[in-house]
């Protein structure tokens, strides 16, 4: 979790301004700068609040220590006066060591500590319940129709305020580091309203190091601590492509070079396709078994590989969805009063077209803090009239969907086949490198798959906690969301952050300093795309990121470039050789 505490010696001089700048650059100037500013300012408070609640953050140990960068060993000296304060490690794309951690279980400890607070406050959690539709009248959200996954029964939640926090949509892809449940259900709920837009659906990030075959993530901390990437010849390649940042360039850059290198024929052949190697052997057994323990466990348990003596088979996999339910800076969703969203499921939008490592956990905690307060403010004095006939209609709609699926009234398409077809198209044609031909192919294919999704009929007949039924109810929404990703990617004729167009390699600030807003009108076979400026405030005018290869078509809008240094139409050499200053990298 990134927060600019500046306790670690390699984070000295860090402050929210630097964190803000890293986040804006990381987003490739695609973020909302007001939100990024709010986020960076709040992150140190949030990280300390989590410490207050019990997170066993790793702490500064004074004295001399060693660390690795790009396979070389360096020395650092932690200061005595910082002893015991929350320390940080290096993640890609940041000027300072800023990522606070608990060994390598940071997400785990944050989740459990937050859950502890939920228990303490006596907040009731309805476990194993899935929202299947938002109840609304076109103006206002009144809650949701949900399905109990223990009994299969539908139930209604009436609410003055409803918040969607469902995580990302990685499971639209065949290879993803995401959990099994990250199927975009929040974005699907939004699309189903026909009103609430999904922001930047095309903004999908790939992680460089998913293990092969299961795509389980091994943390970026591996490379942060000095792990290197190697090819079929056992040779490093990131030092050639990115001499300065090397393996620590931002993850979209690393992912793209890895794919490029595999395409050059330098991948390692395997029954699951080509991959590369992640080498952490030189970090030593002690380091691997303590600081990178989960990595060690993952390799031994899921691969039968011992990372102390063997290299780890890795390749890029879908990892993060920058897009999601579009909200304003308070977390209030566009289009429906009383609807909010936060976390990866939302497009708040501090990540723009690319999220930095360590900024997603940070967003979850920080947005929870900010949006939670905004929801409480919203509820203060808020009164709502619930119309029973509206509720009845939404419940009936879902009952109808279930009975048609069970009876196979619309057809007998196998729901698992439909899902697999969608995942293959997304992986092969809407992946890391994109171009007009592939994307057009993807859209056409997905439109056919959308027709098949309408004809799904179940093979099983159990009405209860039936996983086939759960997927059957979701599949049409998943394919529509996939179409939003593919179609928006086709329309965005530039390369920015994680969105890399081979046919439009330049970042086009003149035409594309904007955010996609995708909605779905019932009966259509494509989303409706609208656009909005991606930021109202331009604290940092668009410029060079300092990593990755980028040509820029500059913005001509004075409100964007202001009096600051505008982005110049310049070509950076294929391999960026300029050493970066600490303030700008």
């Amino acid at each position: 979790m990134q927060a600019a505490l500046g306790n670690a010696c390699m984070g000295e001089g860090d402050c929210p301004d630097v964190h803000f700048a890293d986040t804006v650059k990381g987003s490739d100037w695609g973020c909302d700068q007001e939100v990024a500013r709010l986020f960076a300012e709040t992150a140190p408070i949030a990280v300390r609040e989590m410490a207050h609640w019990g997170i066993p953050w790793n702490r500064v140990v004074p004295g001399t220590g060693t660390f690795y960068k790009g396979g070389k060993e360096y020395q650092k000296i932690e200061k005595k006066e910082k002893e015991g304060f929350i320390t940080a490690r290096d993640f890609g794309g940041t000027a300072k060591w800023r990522t606070c951690y608990t060994s390598d279980g940071t997400g785990h400890t944050l989740l459990f500590t937050m859950d502890n607070q939920v228990v303490k406050l006596g907040v009731k959690v309805h476990d194993r319940v899935e929202a299947v539709a938002l109840i609304h009248d076109g103006q206002r959200c009144f809650g949701a129709v949900a399905r109990c996954l223990k009994t299969g029964k539908l139930r209604v939640y009436l609410a003055k305020a409803t918040l969607v926090a469902t995580g990302g949509y990685g499971r639209l892809y065949r290879e993803t580091t995401n959990a099994v449940i990250c199927d975009g259900s929040g974005a699907i709920l939004a699309l189903k309203t026909g009103i609430v837009p999904v922001g930047n659906p095309e903004a999908v990030q790939f992680h460089p190091t998913g293990i092969v075959p299961t795509s389980i993530l091994v943390t970026e901390g591996c490379r942060g601590d000095g792990g290197t990437l190697k090819d079929v010849d056992g040779k490093r390649f990131m030092d050639t492509y990115e001499p300065e940042k090397q393996e620590l360039a931002s993850r979209d850059v690393v992912s793209r070079w890895m794919t490029h290198h595999i395409r050059e024929g330098k991948g390692v052949k395997s029954p699951y396709g080509d991959h590369l190697w992640l080498d952490i052997r030189h970090l030593g057994e002690r380091h691997i078994k303590t600081k990178l323990r989960e990595v060690d466990e993952i390799c031994r348990e899921f691969l039968g590989v011992d990372p102390v003596t063997q290299m780890i088979p890795v390749r890029p996999a879908q990892h993060y969805s920058m897009g999601g339910v579009r909200t304003n800076r308070d977390g209030a969703a566009y289009g429906l009063d009383g609807l909010f969203s936060a976390g990866e499921g939302a497009c708040w939008d501090m990540h723009g077209l690319n999220r930095l490592g360590g900024n997603s956990l940070a967003e979850t905690i920080v947005a929870g803090r900010i949006v939670g307060e905004k929801v409480a403010d919203y509820l203060d004095g808020c009164e709502v009239t619930f119309k029973t006939e509206l509720v009845r209609d939404f419940v009936r709609q879902e009952e109808e969907i279930i009975s048609r699926l069970m009876a196979g009234k619309d057809g007998r398409e196998n729901v698992y086949d439909v899902r697999n077809a969608m995942q293959d198209v997304m992986m092969d044609y809407v992946g890391i490198f994109r171009n007009a031909t592939d994307l057009r192919h993807a859209v056409v294919q997905l439109q056919e798959i959308h027709e098949r999704a309408k004809k799904v009929g179940l093979r099983s007949s159990s009405p209860g906690a039936n996983p086939e039924l759960a997927l059957g109810m979701r599949i049409k929404g998943m394919v529509r969301l996939a179409l939003c990703v593919a179609y928006a990617a086709e329309q965005r004729t530039e390369s920015r952050g994680a969105h890399a167009r081979e046919d439009y390699p330049e970042r086009n600030d003149r035409d594309w300093l904007k955010r996609t807003l995708a909605t779905w009108k019932e009966g259509d076979d494509l989303p409706t795309l609208n656009f909005e400026p991606n930021s109202q405030v331009w604290e940092i005018p668009p410029g060079q990121r300092g990593y990755g290869v980028s040509k820029i078509i500059p913005s001509e809008d004075p409100s964007v470039v202001g009096n600051g240094e505008a982005s110049k139409a310049q070509e950076v050499p294929e391999v960026c050789k300029t050493p970066e200053t600490p303030e700008t990298n």
Binding site: R48, R128, I216
Partner: protein, 227 residues
């Protein structure tokens, strides 16, 4: 009991196997996976009689015939799926699983320093994923519904170690110093044997038993002993 035949592929885990069974043979087969990476604890089940996480169990380490059963103790939802969530929520409430402090959070203050070694020791116990394997393997928990189980004891040990938690020995004793708690433990240590995260549960049980034993003596003589 249902039987399925499946051809084994390279690097197959029960996660891969069960999903293939669902997609190819029984579309309504119930089992739980979430992270499929050994960190969410959803997929615990009895695998050839032993509780373990299905996601990290490699089929090549098992005999040709694999017997899968749902975890005991927890309420069955269907097939291999059990409701461990309700059980763990109740456990969390019972042990009051949060840092008890009267200090308000000051957003303008720096954090309280902590020794890094201590932070890592707390993390060691905080690695519990609430999978329920230790409970399923516990003779006492299988016999007595109200027995707290090793996961609860480990949680208490985690907070006792944490200087931010201001609870006293007496307060911990009230939670765990009884037959449902640490004094009900039969010492069979099935919990330690099966913990997929290899948390040193035996050490925590021993520590708690000593501390709570001493607390119980203090309790008995509380009127005679100075505080």
């Amino acid at each position: 009991m249902e039987s399925f035949d499946l051809e084994e592929t390279e690097a197959m885990t029960l996660y891969i196997a069960l999903n293939r069974l669902r997609e190819e043979q029984d579309p309504s087969l119930q089992f739980d996976f979430m992270c499929r990476a050994g960190i969410c604890g959803s997929c615990a089940m009895m695998i050839n009689g032993r509780p373990d996480l299905a996601c990290h169990t490699k089929t090549k380490n098992l005999p040709d015939e694999i017997n899968l059963m749902p975890l005991p103790v927890f309420k069955l939802i269907g097939d291999l799926s059990v409701d461990s969530g309700t059980w763990f929520r109740a456990m969390n409430e019972k042990v009051q699983s949060w840092v008890h402090t009267d200090k308000p959070f000051d957003p303008n203050a720096e954090e309280e320093p902590m020794d890094n070694q201590l932070a890592e020791e707390i993390y060691e116990l905080e690695r519990c994923v609430e999978c329920g394997c230790c409970v399923a393997a516990c003779g006492k928990a299988n016999m007595r519904e109200d027995f707290m189980g090793a996961a609860a004891f480990n949680r208490i040990a985690r907070f006792m170690m944490d200087p931010r938690d201001e609870r006293t020995g007496t307060e911990y004793f009230e939670v765990v110093g009884n037959e449902e708690g640490i004094f009900g433990c039969l010492g069979l240590l099935g919990c330690e044997d099966v913990c997929p995260k290899e948390i040193p549960l035996q050490d925590q049980l021993g520590m708690l038993r000593r501390k709570m034993g001493w607390q119980s003596i203090r309790h008995l003589f509380s009127r005679l002993l100075p505080d």
